[in-house]
Amino acid sequence: MSTSVSSGMLLPTPDTRRLLIKWVVALIVPVVVFTLWSGESIINAVISPATAAGNVPTDPVSLIEAAIFTVVFYIAVLLLAGYLVAADTGRRSIIETWADVLIFAVVPLILIILFGLIIGLALCAIVWPLYILIKNQIRKARHYTPPAPLESLTVIDAEQRAILAGRATAGSFWFALAFAVISLVVDLVYFFSGSLPVILLIWAIVRTIILPVAGYFLGRLAGQIALRRTIPEKGNGNGGNGAHRGKRVASVQQQLEALSTTRVREEAKDLVPNDLPLRSSGAQRFYLILLVAFVLFYPVLDPFLFGSGTDGRLAGYGDAGYYVILALGLNIVVGFAGLLDLGYVAFFAIGSYAWGMIGSTQFGYITGIHVNPQIWPWFFWPMILGAALIAALWGVLLGAPTLRLRGDYLAIVTLGFGEIVPIVFLEMDKYTNGTNGIVGVYSPALPGVDWSSSTPYYYLILALIVLVIFANVRLRDSRLGRAWIAIREDEIAAESSGVNLVRTKLFAFAAGAFFSGIAGAYHAAKLGSVSPDNFSFGDSVIYLAMVVIGGIGSIPGVIVGALAVYAINVLILAQLDSLAANPNNFLYPVHNAIAAVFPGFTFGNIRNLIFGVILVIIMIYRPEGLIPSARRKRELRHAEGDEAVEIGSLDVPPGAPGFEDEVRVE
């Protein structure tokens, strides 16, 4: 097979051979696991729907979507293979790379296959830190030091560019070939055991031919992508007089043309070639493609991946989604502006009631206006903005009295608001129907969409999350975001730099409340009812826990934090009892053993205890959160002194005891 496409480039030199073995093996394991798990069944269902398993969708739209996902997936993986081979300096050991891929790709896949998506990922959040811990221990024990960072950027000349391009082509090609051969062998085994229809055998043969060809061309493309991240030689060619051949150092001038020294160091991580290609931003682009394709087509893929029960799972993700929005909103207040808010649930309640009272027959009951159930659901779309604005207004009103307060005092006052607001809704029973709450809240309306299933809510919350992330990122990287961080760092310095404390803090409260208003309106529409006991102090604490566990001030961090806390709290802990009721589950004997000592014991009794213990453990071992922001990481790790501080600078930060003495000594 290989000889038919072979060219000089595809027959690797010994150097390239090592890289090829490294990356082909690293990538093929997770891809084969995924393919055997679901990839294959998706393709089979697309090619011959008649032979598909009972529970998977067979309508054309779903199949086309599934097919698109599959094609995008395998193309991205082939490109990634080529890119990684080209981008690797080869200075890190093969074993280390394999271990990384095993832990960060294969283990999650297996955990997800065994336990489902959210619980699987939550377990990964436990496995990953453990792995890093063990890895560091082993390194320490073996006195291993990673290769010194490339201290300067290297220029890649025409000859080296050709080598890199060749490596990328070879990488994709050999990867595709290996994958094709493995798949073919598996299919042949199935065929001879009689469980493979002929049409699929024909496909298997076609695939075996297509894959290497696709690999060859995608590899060339990957090579071009990789070469874009190199530093090309300047035309005049006087770069390296006397420097050893092939490793010319970019001139200082060149390095500083647009970059500061720090940035050079940062940039070097992402350049081709580098030491950790898996973590480079070039590779991250491919992960992003995979992630977007997965999230976008998830409702179609779910039955292939996890079997029956899709609607229930999607409903769960729809709930997890509004937690993400709440965490992102609270992150503005707590993470960016540094204002500890313990009553964030108040704004969520206001947003929920905003749609609850307007988007239901309650509105007609209050105002006497006839509520037409054909038209009324349409108001959801303007009201999602309306609810957000109402919440933001209350954010300003409630924020105003707290402006002079800081830290603990602020927290107590916001705590009060969190208690007052649900009680107000409870007591205004003339309008809010008191303890019973409002039922029959309308779903949104959209032509041709059936809101009784969970899929539209999945896409709605996905769209909302994307918008909220977008707004968050833009606010953070602007004058307004800088002002928030400045007042978090030092209020006096901020106002002496011209930042208006009142306006900046109120805007932080308003922005935070705005996003929780969006989440609230969504929540009311999805649940179909609103009642005061959905909004307790405990919820505020959970939201705060999401932000802190994820990483204060870090946007990706709080997203992960929200999902992790949702998974732990709602999906795992809430279901312990039902799991323990199943005699086949490992919790069954555990439960019986405890119940023998403490009669009447249920896991529900100690649910909060377990949750609390998990939080404490996370905070002890990872105080900066799961994905810390760069600033926060610095802040917490600085005390340990692993940061290189320039000689001649003082160790004591301003304001710390002992600082003044140190400054005075001259």
Binding site: R482, I492, L501, A644, G648
Partner: protein, 291 residues
Amino acid sequence: MSVKPADSGEISGAARGALLELVKVTKQFGGLMAVQDVDLQVRPREIFSIIGPNGAGKTTVFNLITGIYRPTSGDIRFDGKSIVGLSADRIVSSGISRTFQNIRLFNNMTVLENVLVGQHTQLKAGVFGTLFRSRGFKREEEAARERAIELLSFFGRALVERQEEYVINLSYADKRRVEIARALAARPKLLLLDEPTAGMNEAETAEAVRYVRRLRDELGLTILLIEHKLMVTMGISDRIAVLDYGRKIAEGLPEEVRRDERVIAAYLGKPTRNEQATMDEKAAVDESATE
């Protein structure tokens, strides 16, 4: 407002040409008179120093001018208008920037970001421009970055190269420079420097003295300075005011102040040079009430 050189020791009646004028300013903390009936006139393009023993109320005067405190009585005028009661950020917009005795940078922001925060009053982008990344927003951000780098380049190449560094990693002298760059970012007319050479060695001090002069000569700023090192004050100042126990006990040209008996008695102790230096070193910190 005419720019006239600080020429004479004439103190009284200078109000007309003053950029900053303090009239009988008093600040009382409970029973403690931190600042009492202080009159000051700082003229345009002048380097004016405030000296005095510890606890004399020098930093309190700075905090009064910059709106961190409100005077108990008296008036503070800047550019002819009273700035008493304005919030600190309004005072920055009116043209007064400051640095702090114990450096208050935003430690977990980069050098560049610190200077960008300093430009807060100069930037106008609103919520909608920010969210939709309007053309105006982009242009403004671009210009702000360029200006920040320009301000950093006032102190040479070193800070420009370290613009992406978190300030907490900088050397002490570099932090001082970044703080001044941040203050300059607000386009002030008057710059208040609170002990700009504290914690610096001799070479760094000499350099600091040079750039303080350049701030006046090249950027046309008026500078009000608190300084402990007499060598610095005497060499750099056009005029000096001496505070003791919250009162102004002397004012005039460096030479006059040096010879003033009240000053010698209150601040310098004995008039020998060695003794002065010792005093200087032992001088503990002026109670910084901003903490």
